[in-house]
C-alpha cells in the first residue's frame, strides 16, 4: 500500500484514539517530543515499555486477588503504579479505570476489585491493540520511505 494511504490510515487511527478518549493530550505531548527532538522511535519505545509493564502489573493483580486473604495494600500499590504510568503515556481510559479500582482497594471490596481488574484489563487490551496497529503502520510507512 502506498505511503500516503498508510499515512491516512494512521492519522485516522490516531484521531479515533483521541476522539474516543483512549488517549489524551499527554500522548500528544509524547508525539511532539518525538517530532521536535528528532528522535524517531521514542514513542514506540515508551509505548512498548508501558505495555510490557502494564501486562506484568495486571498479571500480578490477578494473582493477588486470587489469594484467600487479599493484601489490599499490595493491590493498591500496583494499581497506583499502573495509574501513574498510564497518566504518563496519556492512556486516559486505563488511568480512569485505575482511579475507580483504587477506591475499591481502599474500601477493601474484593469482588469490586475483581470486577475493576476486568475493566482495567479490557481497556488495556483495547489500547494495546491500537498501539500495536499504530506501530505496524509507522513501520510500514518508514519502509516505504
Amino acid at each position: 500500500m502506498a505511503a500516503a494511504a498508510l499515512r491516512e490510515q494512521l492519522n485516522a487511527l490516531l484521531s479515533s484514539m483521541f476522539a474516543s478518549g483512549l488517549v489524551d493530550d499527554q500522548f500528544q505531548q509524547l508525539q511532539m517530543l518525538q517530532e521536535d527532538g528528532g528522535t524517531p522511535g521514542f514513542v514506540a519505545e515508551v509505548v512498548t515499555l508501558f505495555c510490557d509493564d502494564a501486562d506484568r502489573i495486571i498479571s500480578e493483580l490477578a494473582a493477588l486477588l486470587e489469594q484467600p486473604i487479599v493484601d489490599f495494600d499490595k493491590v493498591d500499590a500496583y494499581v497506583h503504579q499502573l495509574k501513574g504510568s498510564s497518566a504518563s503515556v496519556g492512556a486516559q481510559k486505563v488511568k480512569f479505570t485505575c482511579m475507580q479500582f483504587r477506591q475499591l482497594c481502599q474500601d477493601k471490596n474484593r469482588d469490586g476489585c475483581i470486577m475493576a481488574l476486568a475493566v482495567v484489563r479490557n481497556e488495556f487490551y483495547d489500547l494495546r491493540n491500537k498501539f500495536q496497529t499504530m506501530l505496524q503502520l509507522e513501520q510500514q510507512i518508514q519502509a516505504q520511505q
Partner: protein, 132 residues
C-alpha cells in the same frame, strides 16, 4: 561538597523506579539540554550525594523499593545539600505533604509537562548565572 558547575548545562538527577516515567522524564530533560542521571530508588540517590556527586535539581518519585522519595529527600537535606532544588513528583496528590515535610522545594503531580520542567530549570539556570 564539591563546588557546583556554574554556567554550564544544569545537572539533573531523576529518582524513579517506574521505567516509563523515567524514560519520559529523561527524554524531556535531554531535550532541555540537561545532563541527566537516573537512579531507581531513594537509596541510590542518597549514595550519589554521599559520593559527593553534585546536582542542580532532583526529580524524585514517591513510592520506591528500598527507600522512598520523601525519605531520600530528608536524608539529602540532613547531609547539608540545602541548595539543590528538589522536586517531588507523584500521581498521588496526597504525596505533596510528605515531600514538603521532607524538605522538597515543590511538588508536581504526574504527568509532568515539558513546560513545567522548563520553568523549573529556568529558576535553576538563573540561580547558577547569578552565583557565577
Amino acid at each position: 561538597m564539591a563546588s557546583r558547575n556554574q554556567g554550564s548545562a544544569p545537572r539533573a538527577l531523576v529518582v524513579e523506579d517506574i521505567k516509563v516515567d523515567c524514560l519520559i522524564l529523561m527524554h524531556m530533560l535531554h531535550k532541555l539540554n540537561c545532563e541527566a542521571t537516573a537512579v531507581e530508588n531513594g537509596k541510590e540517590a542518597v549514595d550519589l550525594f554521599l559520593e559527593r556527586k553534585t546536582f542542580d535539581i532532583v526529580f524524585s518519585g514517591k513510592d520506591m523499593p528500598i527507600m522512598s522519595g520523601p525519605e531520600a529527600v530528608a536524608k539529602i537535606r540532613t547531609m547539608g545539600a540545602t541548595e539543590v532544588k528538589i522536586i517531588g513528583v507523584s500521581a498521588d496528590f496526597g504525596a505533596q505533604e510528605a515531600f514538603m515535610q521532607a524538605g522538597a522545594d515543590v511538588f508536581v503531580p504526574k504527568p509532568v509537562k515539558l513546560e513545567t520542567l522548563q520553568s523549573m530549570l529556568e529558576v535553576v539556570i538563573s540561580k547558577k548565572n547569578m552565583s557565577g
